[in-house]
């Protein structure tokens, strides 16, 4: 019997047939609202279902991101896909397995307890019964509501969960098959590009269509509706040329000029903000031994390898959209609202896209395509953003400025801790604090949304991981939520966790140095969490911490540790660096506790990816502005980590059996940034507080 509350996905989608269907070809189709964004989730969810139903992995087919047939599980975000989506599938499968065995037992005149399942066949005392899921499927009423009371298998009974499972989607991605939404190029497709409104409220005062046509040379339509302009035609190169030319032949009023100063986190400090205090009240007595330091991370980009793309077709009053966004049901709701269509008249389906690390341009591209499709009924529209459009108009990860105020006790350990944060919102998805770009360009645009940010008890946005996991008796957060940031900000891998963990772990190393204690020993002295202690101790063995040399030699070893959201997966990371004029990461070790592991190799792949991406953010990345808006519009002005800069990465998963599975995509990012920060401080003998660790910052620190 399960008595825990139902996972939210089952509360929202209680009918069993939203999740599971027995197909005539002796497979079982599992549906999920979570989608593949490069993280291998579809493979892992299939493993969970196969194990619970006692099927081979090959007998499970996963339908992902389909508003007509699949469950609404909101977005594929926040490392929830295994914790909530996987748990939902597990409970559904346990319940349906029990129902199937009940029906078979009636037929066989035995007790369900006498039956076992092997590859979907039902056995009695090890002998075939002639019954299986498919013989009884017609007698199971899957329109029933899930009860969620059938206990899933014990962890130690798993045979598919815990096995390395090759990614289902990878073969198509190495052999040139149609693997991405971008690759669906049917002969009747019309290609489309958009001229973007440069900022919210900007008005198109003139558009020299003749000049655009002279440049683009070819047949295409120009759609114009208020401040929305699209170019649509059969030849992709022609509409691309039209969109490039359009930027030069359009004039706008109500521009919002940006300045270079605005691109820095420090700019946030003087801006109007809503002040949001959390945690302990401000102490009434003055501090004993107050240590303060300020850290920052600038605006950073998703910088996906391919620009956003969408397909849309409006036929017989029904709009069908294919998107690589993070949630098809939310997309359908947002499109219905923005287009003024009944929700039943829209189908949204997921197809794979280039790597997605949060709220990027995919939803906006889907809206662009839909707006065009509604104006060209019966035509299949393929809308793709241009590279500079992707860099210039995707929501960016917000800049954060963090000041830590730590009052120490007599032994030099934190007694009272305040994390003060200046940051714009981390969640501005359409429908929850944001709007779709094309909607802003059409007539009667909605009023700008009032900024909000997830509350700490919901995992937090800017406040994510703002409180250390260490034993700090009194702590509080003061979040200054920036009211009018210069650019659109939204969810990017880990939200505030990376800057906050970087700040906290930098501070911890400096506090250890104050009392002359080794940074590892200092951490262990103030960490009661047993799973965390185990990781730090194991990491120390792996990276040879005991042999760590003196500071200031140009070579450094540092570590960083956090439990994601203070309640999800644990990661401890160590890095060795060489700092000359630039920072080079030589080697990274990661030890992670992610609870029960569904697909160990898939988990390692995600942990490695989080580490490499976080190295790139920490060393290299900053979104830059000029008077026209975002000015880092290509890979030269927005460099990311290259092959020759990638270190050796060693990942160890500790046995987390017995603990629930935890999402793994985001847990390494903060500890990686922190480990680099501490390793660089060890190498230089001085700390760099501001990301990215560019050559200029290193030189400045050395002066």
């Amino acid at each position: 019997m399960v008595t825990a509350p139902l996972p939210s996905s089952l509360v929202d989608n209680p009918r069993l047939d939203r999740w599971i269907r027995f197909l005539p070809d002796r497979t079982v189709r599992i549906a999920t609202g979570k989608v593949e964004i490069g993280q291998g989730i579809v493979t892992a969810l299939g493993q969970i279902a196969a194990d619970e139903l006692d099927l081979t992995y090959g007998q499970v087919v996963v339908l992902s991101g389909d508003t007509d047939e699949g469950p609404d599980e909101l977005y594929t975000s926040s490392s929830h896909s295994i914790e909530i989506g996987g748990r939902s599938i597990q409970l559904v499968c346990a319940e349906v397995r029990a129902k199937a065995l009940e029906r078979a037992a009636l037929r066989l005149n035995c007790s369900p307890a006498d039956l076992a399942v092997a590859e979907g066949r039902f056995l009695q005392n090890g002998a075939e019964t002639g019954q299986d899921y498919w013989t009884v499927a017609g007698e199971i009423d899957l329109s029933q509501t899930v009860k969620g009371t059938t206990a899933p298998k014990a962890t130690n009974a798993h045979t598919v969960i815990g096995k390395d499972m090759p990614r289902l989607d990878l073969p198509a991605k190495v052999n040139g098959a149609v693997a991405f939404l971008h690759d669906v190029l049917t002969p009747d497709t019309l290609h489309a590009r958009v001229l973007r409104q440069p900022n919210r409220g900007a008005g198109l005062t003139s558009l020299d269509e003749a000049a655009i046509r002279r440049t683009a040379k070819g047949a295409f339509d120009i759609l114009r509706d208020a401040n929305f302009v699209a170019f649509v035609g059969r030849e992709e190169g022609v509409v691309e040329a039209a969109a490039v030319a359009a930027k030069l032949h359009a004039t706008w009023d109500k521009r919002r000029p940006l300045t270079q100063a605005m691109q820095e986190a420090a700019w946030l400090k003087d801006q109007p903000s809503e002040d949001r205090p959390y945690g302990a009240p401000v102490p009434s007595v003055p501090p004993q031994s107050l240590i303060q330091a300020t850290y920052s991370r600038p605006y950073v980009a998703h910088a996906s390898m391919g620009p956003s793309c969408a397909l849309a077709e409006y036929r017989d009053g029904h709009l069908t959209v294919h998107s690589h966004g993070q949630g098809m049901h939310p997309l359908r709701r947002n499109l219905a609202s923005a287009l003024g269509l009944p929700i039943e008249s829209i189908t949204a389906r997921h197809l794979h896209g280039p790597g997605c690390y949060g709220h990027n341009g995919a939803d906006d591209a889907a809206m662009d395509a839909a707006v065009i499709a509604l104006r060209m009924p019966g035509r299949r529209i393929r809308l793709r953003w241009r590279r500079e459009e992707e860099f210039g108009f995707e929501p960016v990860g917000p800049a954060m400025l963090i000041t830590l105020h730590v009052d120490l006790d007599d032994r030099g350990y934190p007694a009272d801790w305040t994390t003060e944060i200046w940051s714009p919102t981390h969640v501005q998805r359409p429908g929850s604090g944001g709007t779709l770009l094309a909607r802003e360009a059409l007539a009667d645009p909605p009023a700008p949304p009032k900024p909000s940010d997830p509350l700490p008890e919901r995992g937090g946005g800017a406040t994510r991981n703002a409180i250390p996991l260490y034993d700090v008796p009194v702590h509080r957060i003061l979040h200054h939520l920036t009211q009018d940031p210069p650019v659109r900000t939204s969810a990017l891998r880990g939200l505030g966790a990376l800057p906050n963990v970087f700040a906290i772990e930098s501070m911890i190393d400096d506090l250890a140095a104050r009392v002359g204690q080794d940074p590892l020993d200092y951490r262990l002295a103030i960490l009661s969490d047993l799973r965390g202690r185990r990781l730090l101790e194991r990491l120390a063995e792996r990276c040879g911490w005991a042999a760590r040399g003196a500071a200031g030699t140009g070579k450094g070893l540092g570590l960083g540790f956090a439990r994601y959201k203070n309640r999800s997966a644990y990661a401890a990371i160590a890095a060795t660096v060489t700092v000359d004029e630039e920072v080079r990461i030589d080697r990274v070790w990661c030890v992670a506790d992610t609870g029960t592991i569904v697909n160990p190799d898939g988990a390692r792949n995600q942990l490695e990816g989080g580490i490499v991406q976080a190295i790139s953010w920490t060393l290299k990345e900053q979104v830059r502005f000029d008077a026209h808006g975002i000015s880092s519009l290509d890979w030269d002005t927005y460099p990311i980590l290259r092959f020759s800069e990638v270190p050796e990465v060693e990942v160890e998963l500790v046995d987390g059996k017995g603990n629930p599975p935890l999402g793994i995509g985001e847990c390494t990012c903060g500890p990686t940034a922190a480990a680099i920060g501490n390793a660089v401080a060890h190498a230089l003998g001085v700390r760099i507080h501001d990301m990215p660790f560019t050559r200029e910052r290193v030189m400045k620190a050395l002066l």
């Binding site: 991605k173 190495v174 052999n175 040139g176 971008h182 690759d183 390898m305 590279r387 989080g610 490499v612």
Partner: protein, 156 residues
């Protein structure tokens, strides 16, 4: 304009406008969608193809530039349906996350192994340095190329 060239050992002739890129011809006219658009600026490597055995960006090259030449795309790496050892090694190492960058990387890796059957880790990294991967699959990709090289030498 009519352009004749060889793609994956097949003679092809296309009728297109002068300024049509090789990438657009491959994807939109010849149905070879494995070569992907990333930036259009020769900065990311997603569109890499072999032209007479040399890795070149297809995004910004007019198709006329390959007239009479031989182009190999990721679709041309396998022979008679059997994956190239590089493709197999990428699957064996699970070297990929979103996979968008992989076609171009496979092409450059093939060019490398064709001229250097025993590359060091740093030679592989150097050969792939024109390629970006945002998901952080580089450690696995480097291992996969090493593995493929070993397989092709008969040492795996």
């Amino acid at each position: 304009m009519s352009v004749a060239f060889t793609v994956n050992s097949k003679a092809r002739t296309v009728e297109v406008d002068d300024a049509t890129s090789l990438l657009e011809v491959l994807r939109n006219h010849l149905g070879l969608v494995g070569t992907r658009f990333g930036c259009g600026l020769e900065q990311c490597g997603s569109c890499m193809v072999l032209v007479d055995g040399e890795p070149m960006h297809a995004c910004s090259r007019d198709v006329a530039a390959v007239s009479g030449r031989s182009v190999t795309t990721v679709e041309g790496l396998s022979t008679n349906g059997a994956l190239h050892p590089l493709q197999q090694a990428f699957l064996d190492e699970q070297a990929g996350q979103c996979g968008y960058c992989l076609s171009g990387i496979l092409i450059s890796a093939k060019a490398l192994l064709d001229r250097n059957p025993r590359p060091s880790r740093s030679e592989i990294a150097a050969a792939l340095d024109r390629h970006l991967c945002r998901c952080g699959s580089q450690p696995r990709i480097l291992k996969a190329v090493e593995r493929a090289a070993a397989v092709m030498r008969g040492e795996w």
